[in-house]
């Protein structure tokens, strides 16, 4: 079996040689570990292939390593064993861990400067790159797949309930009002549900209302950050609303991550708060009804003009311990990846946000937003203003566990075990233990 495979491989190698397709000097391999499965994984292979075809000095080799956390654990294990890949994809909640591992990472802005590759930090969308930059704006990792939460709504159910499907609710009060109409008219049993509860209902709620989620500029200032979200009356009131709405049918909790989506697909809930990157999945699962996209709601009593929502997803980190040739290749690949064509294609295919102004402009020129209504909502929501210290994102250590803690306490509030205030205080207290522990480990 192995022998046979080798035989085929060497024959293939020989025939390539014979055809003269191999470059005179061997190309440098650039290993890229990622966590994109299925169609997204195929797209990654396509991007790598596109880069490999565009030049002959470097070969980018994407390798699927499992879920985000599996990929991160594998990367760390490989680094400790001295076998790290050149590029690895790390989810946004792993950012603090990566950036504090100073001896392990090669910040992108340094890489670009050292390799002399053209690099214009101003060409990137600040709301996207801000999450992965220092407070001075130096890019640490290259944003790759970023998304932001939006509201998907069932137009058919809106009509049934006597609501105007062309004027979806924009404030939290409107959402509650529309939901009451929907349940009272019997159009559906619940008004709205949410995926990613901590990300959408707390992290983004705080960002959009310019409320500090944690001290030290949400952790951007350093690992001494501690939670502050529980001190905000608006956040407590929002969780209290969720509890009341859960009782009255305005809201139905559907679980963590994307577990709530079927409630929307089945027509059980009229609205779904989910990632903009869920667009394709929503389109494919809503063949029985028409859907629309609306921005994430805000509360006009808390803020006049909502801030940008924050992103989720992952970025590409460069690891230490590679040769200069590899870093040259990585820098060239990052340039290729940031080109308007590649970005626009990725954005249109996946629903993830483009990372540069040019890619956004190109997509507009290609009339993509007109042909796919609702796809621009996320971008408008992201780029509506300058991100503030509270809406740039979160950079907290042990964030994957902190999200678990927050969602646990949220679940305890929603099932009646705790009051909103108690749940948020407990969430903050437990998160702070994790933050203290992180601070100790990076010192």
């Amino acid at each position: 079996m192995v022998k046979g495979f080798r035989g085929i491989a060497s024959m293939a190698a020989l025939s390539t040689l014979a055809l003269g397709a191999m470059p005179a000097s061997a190309a440098t391999d650039i290993v890229w570990w990622h966590a994109m499965e299925g169609g997204l994984g195929d797209k990654i292979d396509e991007i790598a292939e596109g880069f490999n075809q565009s030049q002959s000095d470097y070969v980018v080799k994407p390798v699927y390593k499992g879920t985000y956390s599996e990929n991160m654990t594998s990367t760390i294990a490989a680094f400790r064993a001295g076998n790290a890949p050149a590029i690895t994809q790390v989810y946004e909640v792993g950012t603090a861990t990566m950036m504090n591992a100073r001896g392990a990472i090669y910040p992108v802005h340094e890489l670009m400067a050292d390799t002399g590759q053209p690099f214009d930090p101003d060409g990137y969308l600040p709301a996207v790159t801000g999450y992965y930059s220092t407070t001075d704006g130096d890019m640490l990792s290259l944003p790759f797949n970023s998304s932001t939460p939006v509201v998907y709504y069932n137009r058919d159910l809106f009509e049934k309930a006597g609501l105007d499907p062309d004027a979806p609710p924009t404030t939290w009060e409107d959402i509650a009002e529309a939901s009451r109409n929907i349940t009272d008219s019997g159009a559906a049993s619940c008004g709205f549900t949410t995926t990613w509860p901590s990300w959408i209902q707390l992290e983004n709620f705080a960002a959009r209302h310019d409320i500090p989620f944690a001290s030290e500029q949400n952790g951007f200032g350093g690992p001494a950050a501690r939670m502050t979200f529980n001190e905000s009356d608006a956040v407590v009131a929002h969780v209290q609303d969720l509890i009341d709405w859960q009782q009255s049918g305005v809201f139905a909790y559907g679980g963590r991550e994307d577990q709530a989506s079927p409630r929307f697909f089945s027509g059980g809930c009229a609205m779904l708060m989910a990632s903009s990157a869920s667009y394709a999945s929503v389109r494919d699962n809503t063949e029985n009804f028409e859907f629309g996209v609306a921005p994430l709601p805000w509360d006009p009593e808390v803020i006049d003009q909502p801030k940008n929502s924050i992103i989720g997803g992952a970025s590409l980190w460069v690891l230490q311990g590679q040769s200069d040739a590899v870093y040259q290749g990585v820098a060239r690949f990052f340039n290729y990846l940031s080109s308007p064509e590649v970005q626009a294609d990725w954005h249109q295919f996946t629903g993830y946000l483009p990372i540069t102004d040019k890619a956004y402009a190109l997509t507009r020129e290609q009339h993509f937003y007109e042909e796919n209504p609702g796809t621009e909502i996320a971008l408008k929501q992201m780029t509506s203003g300058e991100p503030s210290d509270n809406s740039r994102g979160l950079r907290l250590g042990n964030m994957p566990q902190i999200r678990d803690v927050i969602e646990e306490e949220l679940e305890r509030a929603l099932n009646g075990d705790k009051s909103a205030e108690q749940a948020l205080d407990d969430a903050a207290e437990r998160s702070n233990e994790l933050l203290e522990q992180f601070e100790r480990s990076v010192r």
């Binding site: 591992a101 392990a104 559907g254 042990n398 646990e408 306490e409 679940e411 099932n415 994790l434 480990s441």
Partner: protein, 278 residues
Amino acid sequence: MAPQLIIVLVFFFWPAITALRQSLYVQDAFGLGETFAGLANFTRVLASRSYHEALVNTAIFSVSVALGAMAIALLLATMADRVLRASRAYRTLLIWPYAVAPAAAGVLWMFMLDPTLGVLTRAMTVLGIDWDFRLNGGQAMALVIVAAIWQQMSYNFVFFLAGLQGIPASLLEAAAIDGAGPWRRFWTITFPLLSPTTFFLLVMNTIYAFFETFGTIDTTTSGGPGGATRTLVYKLYQDGIVGLDLGGSAAQSVLLMLMVGLLTLVQFRYVERRVQYH
């Protein structure tokens, strides 16, 4: 050195010693720096509320799974032992669930009990039960217990059936002639003679419930809601693999190792006394 000894050294002692060492240090994920922490990791783990909750969850889960899986298996084995026609088919069917991977077993039950789409959920809605394991901790626990029992039942069934077939028919016949009914025959002859099997299964089921149910929990509830189904092993995974808290998770694994060792010791010392080997 004997080859089996090398295997034990490489696959047991080496990782165990690494864990023990790691549990005494505080380290960042990349291993760029570490500081000796003494027993700080242990005190932190033992003082945390979520560890206490996981301990209680594990106790409830393990006792329910071990007792449930053994009781049902014993009942089925006794029944299957009496089947005369097509006994092979019955046995094969009863052993089947063991061939299903724990993760797949979990998914199977999750689909049947999904709050929106599950077949059994609809049936329960008709009965007036408000089933939502994504929010109700007790229901989530029930779900993982049922899935874990269903899996382990087959394993127990095989051993109980073999045990039952090893009991001489003459003993049971003699008791029947003396006027002992089936109930009495079971409790005074069959059950005591099965005690070596039962004891062996008690040890195995405890270990199963402690360690091997990870896949079942991971694919169904992921330890939620509100940590209601987070067992010690699941917490260890969350802290170590997802959270990259190496010192804390190493301390947890050392504690777990001690706990299971102690439990097995207790079982051998106190329960085994009542076992009658024949």
